[in-house]
C-alpha cells in the first residue's frame, strides 16, 4: 500500500433545506472549495484528477436513481472513472475509505470523494420513515420503525447495566451545540443547559429533541493524492501546504442488521475477540470487566457497538496506536444521538465499557477555552466533536462522514481559523485525529486515522 494524503476539503453550509440549488450544485460548492484551497483552477484540476467516489445514502429522499453520475456529470468529471458507495449513516466514511483505497492501491494518483444528501424534499416524519426502511422491513420496520426508538432502547439498556444518566447524555448535547457556536458550517449553533436538553420535547424516552441530530441538506468533498499525485498537482500550479496530512489507518466493522440478533458473549470471548490491546494488558481493566460480567453484562448486546470496536481496533493497529485517549488529539465521531456518542467513547477505547457516561460528563472530551456552564471534573484530554458533530452540524447522510474528514484535515493543517473565521475550535498542535462514521443500529462502522506528516 502506498502513502495516501488528504490534501484539502470543502463543506457546503448544512441547512434544514436548500431549495436554492439542486443536489449537483450543492456538491459543486464543496468541491469547488476543496479545489480552490489547493490554489488551482477548475479546468486544471479536472485534467489532473484521475477519478472519484460518490457518496449518498438514500434514493428515496431525492426520488432519483443514479444521482451519483448526475453529480459526476455536473462536476465535469465524465468520462473519468467513478462509483457510488452506500452504507446507511456510514456512507460518507465508506466513501472516504474507498477513495483512500483508490490511491493506496495505485489505481489512481488523484481522487476526489464527494457526498451529499437532500433530506428536505419530504416532511420530517416521512424522512424518519425513509430512514427506518434501513431496518429489516419484515421484522423491525413494521413494529414501529423509528431510529430514535431503536437508539432509545439501546440506551435504556446502557443505563440499566452501567448506571448512565440522562444528565450525562445532556452534557454531550451542551458540548456539541456550544462547540458548533464557533463553526459557521453548522446547522444549530446554540448555548444550552442540561435543563434545556431535558426540558425539550420527549421524542423516544429518555431521548429528547436536543439529544438527537437533525435532518439536513448538504454536501462535502475531500481530495486525496499519492506522492506522484501531489507532484502532478504541483507541476500544474497547485499550492499544497506542508506538512501534509496523511491517512495512516483505516478500519471497518459490521454487525447484524437486526440488533435483536446480536450475541451476548461471555467474558473470555470478549477479552479474546474484542478487547483492545491496552485493555488486555491492564489487570485493573481485566478486573473491571470481570466485575461487569459478574453483574450480568454480556457483549455486545444492544448497549454496545461491536462494529465500532472492530473498526477502531483495526484502524488503531494500522496506525500504530495503543492508547487512543492519549495518542489522539481529537475525534470527530458519529453522534446521531448523545447516547451513541457515549456508547462510541467506549467502543473506541477512549474509556472502558461501563464508564462512558462518567467520561461524557467529566470534561475530558470537551474543548479547552470554552465556558460550557457545566461543572466539569477533568481538564480536556481529547476533544470529541470539536466541530459540533452531527447533533449540531446536521446530518446530510452521504456528506456527513466526509464532513468529518474535512474538519479533521483543517485541524491537522492548523487552518480552522482560516476556514471558520474563528480560532476557538482549533485543537492546539493537533497532530493526529480520528474520524468515525456509523450506520444503522451499528451495522457498518468506519474509523479512519489522519496524521500530520512527520508526527512519528
Amino acid at each position: 500500500m502506498r502513502p495516501v494524503y488528504a490534501l484539502s476539503g470543502g463543506v457546503s453550509k448544512f441547512a434544514k433545506a436548500r431549495p436554492d440549488k439542486t443536489f449537483q450544485a450543492i456538491v459543486k460548492e464543496a468541491y469547488d472549495y476543496a479545489i480552490a484551497d489547493i490554489g488551482i483552477d477548475f479546468p486544471t484540476f479536472t485534467r489532473a484528477v484521475d477519478g472519484s467516489v460518490a457518496s449518498y445514502f438514500s434514493d428515496h429522499f431525492s426520488r432519483q436513481l443514479m444521482a451519483g453520475i448526475m453529480a459526476q456529470d455536473y462536476l465535469g468529471l465524465v468520462p473519468k472513472p467513478s462509483h457510488r458507495v452506500e452504507g446507511g449513516g456510514a456512507t460518507g466514511g465508506l466513501c472516504f475509505q474507498e477513495a483512500w483505497k483508490s490511491i493506496a492501491s495505485g489505481h489512481m494518483d488523484v481522487c476526489a470523494a464527494y457526498g451529499f444528501e437532500t433530506m428536505s424534499h419530504v416532511e420530517t416524519w416521512k424522512g424518519n420513515e425513509f430512514i427506518a426502511l434501513a431496518s429489516d422491513v419484515s421484522w423491525d420496520y413494521p413494529v414501529g420503525g423509528f431510529y430514535s426508538g431503536y437508539y432509545a432502547m439501546m440506551v435504556t439498556r446502557h443505563m440499566k447495566e452501567y448506571g448512565t444518566t440522562v444528565e450525562q447524555m445532556a452534557a454531550v448535547s451542551v458540548k456539541n451545540h456550544l462547540n458548533a457556536y464557533h463553526n459557521p458550517y453548522a446547522q444549530k449553533r446554540n448555548r444550552y443547559t442540561i435543563e434545556d436538553v431535558r426540558n425539550s420535547p420527549m421524542v423516544a424516552w429518555p431521548l429528547t429533541r436536543l439529544d438527537i441530530c437533525v435532518m439536513s441538506d448538504g454536501a462535502a468533498a475531500v481530495i486525496f493524492a499519492s506522492e506522484d499525485g501531489i507532484e502532478r498537482l504541483e507541476a500544474a500550479g497547485a499550492e499544497i501546504p506542508r506538512p501534509l496530512v496523511q491517512v495512516t489507518g483505516i478500519g471497518r466493522g459490521t454487525d447484524a442488521m437486526r440488533m435483536s440478533d446480536r450475541p451476548h458473549v461471555d467474558y473470555e470471548t470478549f477479552m479474546q475477540d474484542y478487547a483492545t490491546d491496552q485493555e488486555r494488558s491492564s489487570e485493573d481493566t481485566r478486573n473491571h470487566y470481570r466485575s461487569l460480567w459478574d453483574r450480568g453484562t454480556r457483549y455486545p448486546g444492544v448497549h454496545s457497538f461491536r462494529a465500532g470496536r472492530t473498526a477502531g481496533n483495526m484502524a488503531y493497529r494500522h496506525a500504530g496506536i495503543t492508547d487512543p485517549l492519549e495518542e489522539l488529539d481529537f475525534v470527530e465521531l458519529h453522534d446521531a444521538y448523545t447516547s451513541s456518542e457515549i456508547q462510541t467513547y467506549e467502543d473506541l477505547g477512549l474509556c472502558r465499557y461501563g464508564e462512558g457516561g462518567e467520561f461524557a460528563a467529566s470534561g475530558k472530551a470537551f474543548m479547552p477555552g470554552i465556558e460550557y456552564g457545566l461543572d466539569l471534573t477533568s481538564d480536556p484530554v481529547c476533544p470529541v466533536n470539536p466541530s459540533g458533530g452531527l447533533i449540531a452540524c446536521g446530518h446530510p447522510v452521504g456528506a456527513t462522514g466526509l464532513m468529518q474528514g474535512v474538519f479533521a484535515i483543517w485541524q491537522l493543517q492548523n487552518t480552522i481559523g482560516k476556514h471558520f473565521g474563528d480560532e476557538t475550535l482549533q485543537v492546539s498542535d493537533a497532530r493526529r485525529g480520528a474520524i468515525h462514521s456509523h450506520a444503522g443500529t451499528g451495522t457498518y462502522v468506519t474509523v479512519s486515522i489522519l496524521e500530520r506528516e512527520g508526527n512519528r
Partner: protein
Amino acid sequence: MSDARREETLGGFVVHGVPFPVETDPDALAFLKRMTPIQIEQQYSITYLHSYGQDSPWFAGASNKRLLASREPDSGYAYATPRGHDMYTGRETEWIDVTDRTATVHAFTVCYFGSEEFLPDTPFVLALIEYEGVNTLFLTRLIGLDHTQASLEWIGREVQPRFLRNSKLKPTDVYFVPA
C-alpha cells in the same frame, strides 16, 4: 418573542402562470439569478409484493396464536427473531415453539414521535424481549403499561405474548403485556 410555529405541510396551491420578465433583455436575464426556486410536489406510491420467504411459518404460527423461534439443531443456539440459517455453523435451523416460555423485557422505550406511518399510534412502547433459553431478542410492542411512568424498573419485568384475533400477517400480530 415566542418561537411557537404552526406545523408545516407540503401542500400548496395549484398556480397558473409564474412571474417572469416580460422582455428577456440582458438586465432581465441577469435578474433571473436572483429568483427564488420553484418547488413542485411529486407523488410517489407503490405496492410491493413482499415475500417472507423462509420466515413464512413464523407468520402462520402467529396467526394461529403460536410463537415460533428457530434453533441450530446441534448447538441449540436459538433465535427469537427467526433465521433460516445459523450465523455460526451456516446450517439450516429448525423451528421451535416458544409460546409458553418465560419472557422478560430486555430494553424498551416510549415513542412519542415516529415514522409517518406510525404517528397515529404514538405514544407507544417498543421493547426487546428475552425468551427463556433463547439466545437472541425479539422486537415488539408492549401494551398495558402506563407510558407516563416509564422507568428502568420495567427492564427485567416478566411479560407474556398476546395475539391479534384477526391476523395482519405482520410481526405485530403478537404483542406483549405484563405477566
